[in-house]
Amino acid sequence: MSRRTAKQAKQKKAPARARAKQVSRPLILVATRKGAWIFHGDPARRSWRADGPHFLGHIVSHVVLDPRDRRTLLAAAKTGHLGPTIFRSTDFGRTWKEAAHPPAFPKAREGEKGRVVDHTFWLTPGHASEPDAWYAGTSPQGLFRSQDGGATWEPMPGFNDHPEYRLWMGGEQDGTPDGPKLHSIIVDPREAKHLYLGMSGGGVHESRDGGRTWAPLIKGLEVVEQLDPANVQFHDPHCVRLCPSNPDRLYQQNHCGIYRIDRPSNEWVRVGKAMPKKVGDIGFPMVVHPRDANSAWVFPMDGTSVWPRTSPDGRPTAYGTRNGGKTWRRLDSGMPATQAWWTVKRQAMTADARDPVGLYFGTTSGELWMSRDEGERWSCIARHLPEIYAVEAAEPR
């Protein structure tokens, strides 16, 4: 009989997944206005090594690791001059290969004005049962799908070309300062054909047939004063997230507050009214807990007067709820106490799946922050990066 140490014996008893967690080294994928960085962490998430820049000078909107194979990275990029494309890596960024057919609208018929993808803004891996499927959301609003791991992309005409849906999107001048966007593409983990998406502007929409038809999901959402909340194009969801532990619950950070919905209800509830009046419930990111649907986090932004898009009062903070939005608690330990005028964009805050959950955010001033204890204490991982557009936490194979 072979001799084993106590440690080896203990490891043998531990489930395979738990053993993998003990040795896995987390990644933080950071997309910025001037390129992408991959931060490699130690297993305890205490030290991080910066790998980058990748695509220096490119405007990178999103970098995502495929959770199904945990080795394929997709990056959505363009430059100020060159058109938009998608890069793909299967070796954690050592080499990248460009998509053969990046997201692009169909060529318009003679005499019609065709749409042009300015940039791919959002990437979502498909359902676990569809290993090579990905979705992309673009600016202006367009929905695209890849069935070959991101090498080629096809428009989803059921959405992009439906005359009514195009009314929802408004005109090209109706979007965000960086252009109107399709974002928050969500695949129900229980059903590959059940999808959600958000548009700024254009509201939240749901499909139950894999994207062939869509219906607005805007009841209960407020719009800017004096506008008609029944008109879909006045709606501006900033970020929508589905709770992995309860896929019937979604949270949303909207232009007009923080909301929660519990399906099958079709009505959102403004849970942000419980936020302190002085801080308000305007912001961009929305983060949900991987195992507790009552826990979520936001990062408030000053949406008063001319919308300064800074931290309220120059005092950045996350807010967290542990009861589905009934109450919110300020979580700013470790952050600057005053005169910090950065904020966090809609894709730039995320959570990992560890216990306790790690939270991460990147700032408009190029700082990368994290909390190893679900927001109780924060520390800065990196400074002096370009403006951060997106942050994703990932566990590579």
């Binding site: 001059h81 060159l82 058109g83 609208f105 749409r115 042009v116």
Partner: protein, 85 residues
């Protein structure tokens, strides 16, 4: 014919000057894309228009029409427009 490419496209061509064939600008870009996959879409959008901040010169004269016919002795220069700050 000789094609002069701007620095942002050298990651595709690995050179500032390359050769391409075609009787029109559109055909030249199609040939460039065959030789350097992905290059065309970075310069020309899905509606077959030059992107807003890209310019093309034929023998030193700016050209917007991709149907413009070309001779073998012509020189095509792709330029990143002087825009932005």
């Amino acid at each position: 014919m000789k094609i002069v490419v701007p620095s942002p496209l050298v990651s595709y061509t690995q050179a500032r000057e390359v050769e391409a064939r075609g009787a029109t600008l559109a055909a030249v870009f199609a040939d460039l894309d065959r030789r350097y996959p992905g290059l065309r879409f970075r310069v020309i959008d899905e509606q077959d228009k030059l992107r807003r901040h890209m310019r093309v010169f034929v023998n030193g004269e700016q050209e917007f029409d991709l149907a413009r016919s070309l001779e073998h002795a012509d020189t095509v220069q792709i330029v990143q427009a002087l825009s932005g700050g």
